[in-house]
Symmetry: C2
Subunit: 192 residues, 2 copies
DNA sequence: GTCTATACCCCGATAGAC
DNA sequence: GTCTATCGGGGTATAGAC
């Protein structure tokens, strides 16, 4: 709803420590019990304070969860961006797919946090924020006569989500191999 | 958790009418307000009875929502199965994609109900129930040297979900065109 | 067999004391 | 900055009216 009221630099030291502590507790709890199973009381308990104290540092439960979501998303976006920029444009889509699936495989708790956040209405994230960067990467990879890049980006994102979700339910599922298969599918399409 | 205790035929007339009424009310409410925004009190209010009366017909709120979810899913599965069986095996994947996206476009309320159910823990649906039938359709479509069919099925399902979700956020999005693009992608892959 | 009334406990949030 | 107290509302369980 509203932007961050104060800049990070204006926060007290203890304030920043508390926020970080609460965010970490929230990421763990959402990973373990999902959004609905994560109550203010549990977050407070894990941080050693009371419900009301949590609501002193954040205006609402949704704000806590949103902060935790952003924390985790920032790390993901940074890693994917680095990987894509390090690749030559033609391999951008492959770098995007591999780094995103790889990051989520290495941070399963973050994964649950992100998937939970996508569904709960806090996800006022315009879906465009998800597909537009990928569509640009696809465009930079070269001319593509056949596909609408928005739809292709949406399909790829959905495929990534489904692969990652599959591993959540079946830890033995080989997401690296799945990533390679998705990469092959996309590169075939881009050169068709 | 447990199977249906009594067969449909053993239910009272009023019981069946009430269940249907409650399921319809729940589908509408979940479509309008999401799972979290759908309370027993609202379901009861829309049906003209009290919370406790709802819990006479169903053992819990989750059971009501699960019944509503199954109701909607049954219609989807039936339509898709009919379309796939009517197609020659080689066009099975195309029929699957087109009929599923088409059905969800024509029943937006069902769509919200299904996507909400997928995330909330009531989704004890082994994901295998989703990808295995599609993997069989892919297998029946012909020999496929390159792709692991489980992963291909997972990617296709994710793509379908993402396309349908996109339309929920942007009603102007052309899901029919997106379906054709996904069909083309899959058929290219299957003939590679 | 169908339903109402009631009561319980947990949740998110607010007010105000320390 | 953190607490207790309290509120409205949620899901659930039971007693008992009809």
């Amino acid at each position: 709803m509203s932007r961050r009221e104060r800049a990070e630099s204006e926060l007290t030291l203890t304030e920043r420590a508390r926020r970080r502590q609460l965010i970490e507790a929230t990421v763990e709890l959402v990973a373990e019990h999902g959004y609905a199973g994560t109550s203010l009381a549990r977050i407070a308990e894990r941080a050693g304070i009371t419900k009301a104290a949590v609501l002193y540092h954040f205006p609402s439960k949704d704000a806590v969860v949103r902060a935790a979501h952003e924390h985790v998303l920032t790390a993901l976006v940074a890693e994917v961006a680095t990987a894509v920029e390090a690749a030559e444009p033609a391999r951008g889509p492959a770098a995007y797919i591999r780094s995103m699936i790889g990051h989520l495989r290495e941070h399963p708790r973050h994964t649950r946090m992100i998937t939970e956040a996508m569904t709960n209405d806090a996800a006022k994230h315009e879906s465009a924020e998800r597909w537009r960067p990928l569509a640009q990467i696809l465009e930079a990879a070269g001319p593509n006569p056949r596909a609408d890049l928005r739809t292709l980006a949406i399909i790829i994102s959905g495929g990534i989500d489904a692969i990652v979700a599959e591993q959540l339910g079946d830890p033995a599922y080989d997401t690296a191999a799945a990533a390679e298969q998705l990469v092959a599918l996309v590169e075939t399409e881009l050169s068709s």
